[in-house]
Structures are given as C-alpha cells and as structure tokens.
Amino acid sequence: MRNKLISETQAIASLESGMTLGIGGWGSRRKPMSLVRALLRSDVTDLTVVSYGGPDVGLLCAAGKVKKLVYAFVSLDSIALEPHFRIARQSGTIPEPVEWDEGMLQWALFAASLRLPFLPTRAGLGSGVMDVNPTLKTINSPYADAEELLAVPALRLDAAFVHMNRADSRGNAQYLGPDLYFDDLFLGACEPGRRFVSAEKIIATQDLLKEGTFHTLKINRSMVDGVIHAPNGAHFTTCEPDYGRDEAFQKAYVDAARDPETWKAFSARFLSGDESSYQEQVVLWRAEVKAAQEAKK
C-alpha cells in the first residue's frame, strides 16, 4: 500500500523546465497556492501553463516562468482583473499566449483524459479565438448534418496541481465546497507521475465520509501520485467551507503589484521563504493591519 505523502518541495523537484503544467481551481477559488509558491522558489521555468486563471497565473507570470499560457480568462473574481497577468500581456512578456473559450479548455482536458485526439464543439467558431489561434482546425460531422465543428485538440499535461479540502495518504481526495470546477479533468489529462493533490487536512480513509457525502469523492487514488498536507494552502483564494477568500490580503496583493518597488517588497516578505514562513507572515500581516485599524480609531 503506497503512502503518497510528500512535501511541496518534493513535488516541485520532480518538475523540469519546459513542461506543461495544469493548475486546478477557478479564478481566485480553491487554487493550489502552496504548490504554486513552491514552484516560484524553484529554478523550473519555460512552462506551458493551463489554467482557469487567477493569482496562480499572475504569480507565475510575474516570476517570468511562463513560456506559453493556455487560458480563457485570468481574474481574481472579486477584483475582476489580475494585475500581473495584465502587465505581462501589455508588455508582451508571455511569448506564446493561447486564448480559448472556457468550454474549449474543458474539452481539451476531457479529450486528453479520454485519450482522444480532439473533441468537437461549437464554442469558439466565428469568434476571435479562431483569428488568434490559426492552428485550430475544424472537422465536418460524418453524419447527414455534415456540420462543421471546431476540433479542440487534447491538451496532455506533464504535471497537475489541485487543492482539495480533505485527502487520505493514498490520494483519495474530497472537495467539500460548492464546485469541483474541473479539477478531476486536470488530473485525468496528466501523465501519471506528477499528479499532485494538496489538501487542508490529511485524514484516515475511514473518515472520508464523515464531513461530506459520497458525491464529494470525485478524486480517487488512481488519479494521484503525490499528496501534500497544506493547511491554508489555497490562501488567499477561497477554500469553502474551510475558509473564504482573504479579500484584504488579495487587495494588498493587487496594490503591491501596481509598482515594481512595492512588488519587490511584497515578494521579499511573503514569497522568498518557504510555505511556513509565508503562513507566519500572513498572520503577522493580519495583526499589523488590525493594529493599524485600531490606532486609527
């Protein structure tokens, strides 16, 4: 029986520059941020990143690690626009942006997870997506309708990160929030070997149904190679019902991104140390904000 518990650092050590990485979650919701932070500290670069983008994409862009980005949006939800992604796009520092419709990303991951070369869809046809992705091809239905459809190519991943509420040490994982997003497809689209699930709590297998119904067990151990215990690991994004988004911290992140100097200071404080140092600094930062608010009164 395999025990798959590893650290973020161990997970990142298996990655190589130039790989294709899929990141689960959606916008600023249940993002595997502790794994992303560990990746920021590594030498791994020239990545192709596939994501329903939020601060994961912003941080990787700011660190210059993204060669190719496959996205439909990058957003912080309660703050619509992701500052680092904007800077990167406006200064042309993402060498290969690949902008698709949201549904195309799902289809590309689903195709990969089913080992199909493509899946047909209407989403994308007629839109600017076809103009800026000249390699996309269409296919005609072989049936009487003969409809021309967009053939979304499978997107196979070399590595995948997702963050869950609970997991056991063997890789059975559970989401307790309102939406799985497309996390199962990110794992399904990924070659075995680098499919990583971080979780708020590591629990015994027999406890998996204590907090949620069987419907919440969509990730099974055959889909997972490494399990990382990451309390508050999605911070500052949502991880319902364990915690909501840290809106104040997200705002501080956005404010810091406005200027290279303030971003340097933010980065030095929060992102230069390891995960426990990050979490400590967040606690200290909260205390400082609270003290400053009380001083104002």
Binding site: F73, L81, R89, D101, G103, G126, S127, G128, V132, Y181
Partner: protein, 251 residues
Amino acid sequence: MSDTPVLADVIAVACAEAWRGDGEIFASGMGVMQMLGARLARATFEPDLMISDGEAFFIAGDLPIGGTDKVVEGWIPFRSVFDTVAGGRRHVMMGASQIDRYGNTNIANIGPWAKPKSQLLGVRGGPGNTVNNATSFFIPKHQTAVFVPVVDMVSGVGYDRAKKVGGFIAQRHDLRRVITNLGVFDFNTPDHAMRLVTLHPGVSLDDVVSNTGFELVIPDEMLISRGPTAQESAAINIIDPKGLRLREIAS
C-alpha cells in the same frame, strides 16, 4: 404618473424585459444590473426562470443581490453551466467593453491582441455563449469608445460572423437586447444591424447617435422606455434593498 422614473429603475425594467417570454430556462446575469434584471423578471412577469446565486446554486424566492439566506432549488456548478450553455437552455446578459453594429462584442482586450494596450478579462465563455444560447448585453456608459465600428477582439460572435459560419450557428444565433444608460437596442432588422428600440426618459435621439460610432437603424416612431409598475417597484426594493443599482447608474 407624471413623475419621471429613476433612471436606474428604468434600466432594471429594461434588463428584466430582455427575458420576457423565455419560460423555464437559466436566466444568467453577469453584473449587478444584469442580476437585478433577471431576478426582477422572475419576481414579476416570468416566474418560471431559473436564477443562480452566481456561485453554484439555483435559488428559489426573491433573494436580494449579495444575500445569503438562500432557498436552494438546484445545483449548477460550472460544469453544469457549460452543459446548459451547449444545450441552449440559457439566456445570459453579459457586459461588453466594445460592441459593433452586428453585435460582435469584446471583453478580452483593448488594442491589438498580440500586445494589448489594455488587457481585460480574456474572451471567457463569450464565444461559447454567443453561438449556443440567447445573449443580451448591459453597457453602463453608452459612448463611441464602446460602440465602435470594429471591435479589437471578438469575444462574442455577432450576426455577420454567425452568418459566415453558417449552418446550426447561423440558424440559432440569438442576440436579443442591448441595454445602455441611454436606451434599449435590438437586432430585429433585415440584416440584423443594431436598431434603437426605445430611448430612456429625458434622452434625445442625438444623445444616442452622437455616442454611437456606427450607423444605427432608427425607427420611424420614437418610443420611450417605461418605468416600473407598482409591482415591479416593490420587487426592485426587495431584490436591491441597498440601492446597488444607484451606484451602477448615475442619474
């Protein structure tokens, strides 16, 4: 009634009107006025509409915007939203940073896509929405920077492009309404060019024409957007008790 209705309420009613006749489908609103419109339509003349909380649940009852006291009647995680879009059982009202004469819209970026002057959201689900389900738009500031001859990136497919694709998409393509701070517009013209439907109270035709960067189809008879009925006013106050609409729409 001789009193001129509050503009935000006129717009709320105009947004709600976009869903009239839709029946039992998912009425999805991206933004405060869009959500208010969908919930107002259901609270009054379109009671079978399905309304979400913007997260993952269908809610029954007249939930105030941002309210948490939800009566859940269904589960609509993103995957089910995508299924509903492809199945055509949805009418979404989105925003748009640019729109042209045939309803091509842009929420992705301003300036050239390769290196935008301003990166916005990205195309999001716009391409899939506009070829699969009915789509309307709410635009809070009607100006020539938004109503443009050509959009910088087509995130939402307009009638001319849908026609070029042909087949199923051309036959089913369904852009319903565009609601702005100046008036209501649709595409019910022979070539689906944008048409002025009503002017909001106090707005002149010249206000609309001079703030639109392309030629609009102008009706022979000028109609004025209506204010809310007593029932609608009551519903607006239940759905938006904090007056969020007044912050969205400067009178």
